[in-house]
Symmetry: C2
Subunit: 188 residues, 2 copies
């Protein structure tokens, strides 16, 4: 949000983004903008003044999710042991991917309409947040040293892709991510 924005305008933007997040999660990226305005308690004109197109609204929702994940990484790094912090964060990324799959695809497809740097920027933020957690876990001997954060994030998004059409995508994804991080050997 622009720093000079008035308090009531800020409140409107926050309400619109929250309503949009819910609508996109429930109906996918094609959710009705009019219904989003209605459930945010603002007029369509207000929504369009802040978000000139669907792409801008998708980006705002996605950026908020990315910021939440970066914030979550900092929290976990400050309070959990290095190994569980990394695993807990990757599971949070998985939950995010499971509930925002359509959103991510829509952003990728619509990239020509939106900010071309946007996807790369989000990717860089997530990678940097995860790299800190992986570095800590590796330094503590809680994670193998021959694995890169990009590999772990690819595994997480692979699982999100493969489970998104099932009846319980988030639960299936969480189960498979834990399996992939724990491995096949017994006794863990």
């Amino acid at each position: 949000m622009p720093p000079g924005m008035r308090a009531d305008a800020r409140r409107n933007v926050a309400r619109i983004v929250a309503a949009a997040a819910e609508a996109f999660a429930r109906h996918g990226a094609e959710a009705s903008l009019e219904e989003i305005a209605r459930s945010a308690g603002v007029g369509s004109a207000t929504l369009h003044r802040h978000f000139p197109g669907r792409q801008a609204l998708l980006e705002a929702v996605f950026r908020e999710r990315v910021e939440e994940l970066c914030e979550r990484a900092r929290e976990l790094a400050g309070t959990w042991e290095p190994g569980p912090a990394l695993v807990g964060w990757l599971r949070a990324v998985s939950a995010h991917a499971a509930s925002n799959r359509g959103l991510a695809a829509a952003l990728a497809c619509g990239a020509a309409d939106g900010d071309p740097e946007f996807g790369r920027g989000c990717h860089a933020l997530i990678t940097a947040a995860g790299m800190e957690l992986l570095d800590r876990a590796q330094a503590a001997g809680a994670a193998r040293t021959d694995v890169a954060i990009t590999e772990l994030l690819t595994l997480v998004s692979a699982v999100a892709l493969a489970t998104e059409t099932g009846s319980a995508p988030a639960a299936d994804a969480d189960r498979l991510v834990r399996l992939a991080l724990e491995g096949l050997a017994p006794g863990r």
Copy 2:
């Protein structure tokens, strides 16, 4: 192949399927049928007599891959220790998925034109072959007992999906499948 087929017809069918496998792997499911006939050394009429449409040819190639994987499972069960046999087979499935991704998608999309039972039949064969290897590995204490073969196969196909657009899909997929089977802990 029908049991009563003459020897020269059998040879033609085998040559067409081999040429089609190579063409689909190189050019995807839209590979030219005329070029397939040409590199098999048969006329287009012969190809169409044995395979009335593209879908039939895709199915023949895919079925052959599935049979190879089932045969590989039997070989590994007979010669390798239970744990490495399971891991080796899952890596073989991954290599298959990496080189046949477009093929599998084309079969799924074209299912209405082809045999509707085909996909389910292939899936059942692969699952049964893998289940035997997993049962053996679990009985030998080489694999955790709370994992199902369908979960392992979903992980493998998830990785194939996520790596197919990279510059080295088969190598990337193999690396990630091994990572998922070994897990994040150091010292393996």
